[in-house]
Amino acid sequence: MKTTEEIFNLLKEKFGESIIEFKTGVPVEDFIVVNPFEIDKVCTFLRDTDSYQFNNLMNLSGVDDANGKKITGEQGEVKLEGRTFSLFYHLESMSLKQKVTLAVRMPGENPEVSSVSEIWRSADWHEREAFDMFGIKFLNHPDLRRILMPYDWEAGYPLRKDYKNPEFYQGMKVPY
């Protein structure tokens, strides 16, 4: 069983720049921040190496970090600058009984990340959900469609903190 710090040091040796930082000190959980375009390689390594065997992706969740600066444009439109989105990967090794949390940070304008659905099939629907709720694009995802919201939902991504609900959807009034 390895601690997150040990895993971080070992990964740093192997992948160098792709492993960005090790976050500790936050209550309860430490995590490793990884480059969004290298996450698939890191995950493949973590799954297939004998000393890790992270064969189970417990959870994958998107987060709107809500850290942008509000900038009001000329026409009064509000834009968030410098916002980021995060993804958290909770991995578990069922045979070695160890856990690790990975995270990636993406810029708010065009959040893109490599898909891990090839590595763990369970990621497929989790990623679709993150796309549906936050608009995070997963590169090389086999079937990136909305999953919970209707396919013709045009009002944006509902779990973003600046989401505004539309007045009508297909002739039905949405607000109370």
Partner: protein
């Protein structure tokens, strides 16, 4: 027949008797559309199961809308589902009745405030006859709602449309 040509403009002895028989027949065999949406569907299942026994009131779940008289909207109606519910309702033959079961289908319930994907009340897409409050309503409450609906049907008239 005079009835269809609207020759009888007012109640008379024949009509009222026919009405009574028709209404009695109608209210004692309300076939329900076996269709659950959310949490309330579990209580609806409990109502049709052994302890409460919906069959006593002539309510039998039918899987098809074309064979049913009453649709119990049991649970949260989302925008994605509302279109289907409207279609199902339109497929039902007249006379048809709607029981809205639980807070969610009454007015969005706990999801009325921030529910971006919840229809706030099924009465925005189909007309509702009886509102059964509760989250979820006890099976007895649903039975009481059904009795209320039967009461409504009992007072229906062929000549004057009430519903």
């Amino acid at each position: 027949m005079g009835l269809l040509d609207k020759q009888f403009t007012d109640d008379n002895i024949i009509i009222t008797k026919v009405e009574d028989v028709l209404n009695w027949a109608r209210l004692s065999s309300l076939w329900q559309m076996g269709f659950g949406l959310a949490c309330c569907a579990i209580e609806m299942m409990a109502t049709s199961a052994s302890h409460y026994d919906f069959d006593r009131f002539g309510v039998i779940p039918r899987p098809s809308p074309r064979q049913s008289d009453v649709i119990i909207i049991s649970g949260t109606v989302t925008l994605k589902m509302a279109i289907r519910i409207k279609r199902l309702y339109e497929q039902m033959p007249d006379p048809k009745y709607v029981i809205s079961m639980g807070s969610c289908s009454n007015c969005g319930g706990p999801y009325w405030e921030h529910g971006y994907h919840v229809l706030k009340g099924v009465d925005r897409v189909i007309p509702v006859d009886v509102y059964v409050p509760g989250c979820p309503p006890r099976p007895e409450a649903l039975l009481e709602g059904l009795l209320k609906l039967q009461e409504k049907i009992r007072n229906e008239s062929l000549v004057k449309k009430t519903a």
